[in-house]
């Protein structure tokens, strides 16, 4: 079973990488980009039936640093968040 975890910096946490990419987009002539924030997509191949609580623990213990990052879990079907 494929599960996707999307990790992103919390709102308000400075993202210098995103800022640099934003600047580069403007340099390439793309106008009208308000902001760029860079996150991380983690694809997990887990045993069928793995519950959301387990994935959530993986996120909280390792995949995301919840001091600075939030995460969303996709691919678990209804109720996944």
């Amino acid at each position: 079973m494929q599960v996707r975890v999307l990790v992103r910096l919390k709102p308000g946490v400075l993202d210098p990488q995103g800022r640099a990419v934003h600047h580069a987009l403007e340099g390439l002539g793309f106008a009208g980009v308000g902001d760029v924030r860079i996150g991380r997509l983690i694809e997990l191949d887990v045993a069928d039936g793995t519950d959301e609580a387990t994935i959530r623990q993986m996120c909280e213990k390792l995949l995301a640093n919840t001091v600075i990052e939030s995460f969303t879990i996709e691919g678990l079907g209804e109720g996944a968040n």
Binding site: V13, L14, P16, Q17, K61, L62, L63, V67, I68
Partner: protein
């Protein structure tokens, strides 16, 4: 009795020899080298140090993988028993990832790797690690990092400042750290994480632009505070 200080080496640590050398120079006893895969620490340690470098290639986040290593479980347990821990640079990142210290180290605000000697001020000169300094004293210690931008929420920052847990602050623009925080103490003052490298500043260098001796008192303070009676 000889001072028993351990230096933990992770794959990708690159300041472990500097740390061991600084300890040996100040304590007069060789540091005990510990490998990341060891499940147990040597017994009767007076100090555990986590050196700088790029543990596990900075995979996922700086310090994140090291924080899950077997030896870090032992370090966390030791710290909870009150064994002193010093984390420098990547070691500071590991301490925050292991939640022994609050906050996190983000990419430098200017995006650049900072490698130079910076001006600091001593924020708290009453801790076991900083007793050899004067509060507010200006000192100079080298930094070398890409992810040194200290972040914590406002409530945590207020708490750190209110409890005197800011050990060092940058006295010049460096990496965008919240409230110029360069080093943070645990609530009991026995865990210190800092981005600047005191182990690179323990003796006057032949070339004045290099080194300096302002880091030496940190090790002397630790020795005086933690040496087994």
């Amino acid at each position: 009795m000889a001072f028993r200080a351990a230096v933990i080496t992770f794959p990708g640590s690159n300041c472990d020899r500097d740390m061991a050398s600084a300890i040996a120079a100040v304590a007069g006893a060789p540091a005990i080298r510990v490998w990341h895969g060891d499940a147990e620490l040597p017994d009767r340690l007076d100090l555990i140090t986590l050196p700088g470098g790029f543990s596990y290639g900075d995979y996922l986040r700086s310090g994140a993988m090291a924080a899950t290593s077997p030896i870090m479980r032992a370090v966390v347990a030791a710290a909870q028993r009150g064994v002193p821990v010093l984390g420098v640079c990547n070691g500071f990142q590991v301490l925050t990832e292991a939640r022994l210290l609050p906050g996190a180290l983000l990419r430098n605000a200017g995006q650049r790797f900072m490698c130079r000697t910076v001006a600091l001020t001593v924020g708290n000169a009453a801790s076991p690690f900083t007793a050899g300094y004067r509060a507010g004293e200006p000192i100079r210690i080298p930094v070398a990092h890409h992810d040194g931008n200290y972040y914590a929420d406002a409530e945590t920052l207020d708490m750190l400042e209110g409890e005197g847990r800011v050990a060092f602050r940058y006295a010049e623009a460096c990496n965008g750290s919240a409230r110029d925080i360069a080093g943070v103490l645990s609530a009991n003052g026995r865990v210190l994480g800092m981005m600047p490298h005191p182990e690179r500043a323990i003796e006057p260098a032949a070339v004045p632009a290099l080194g300096g001796a302002d880091g030496r008192r940190l090790f002397e303070s630790a020795l005086a505070s933690f040496a087994a009676a």
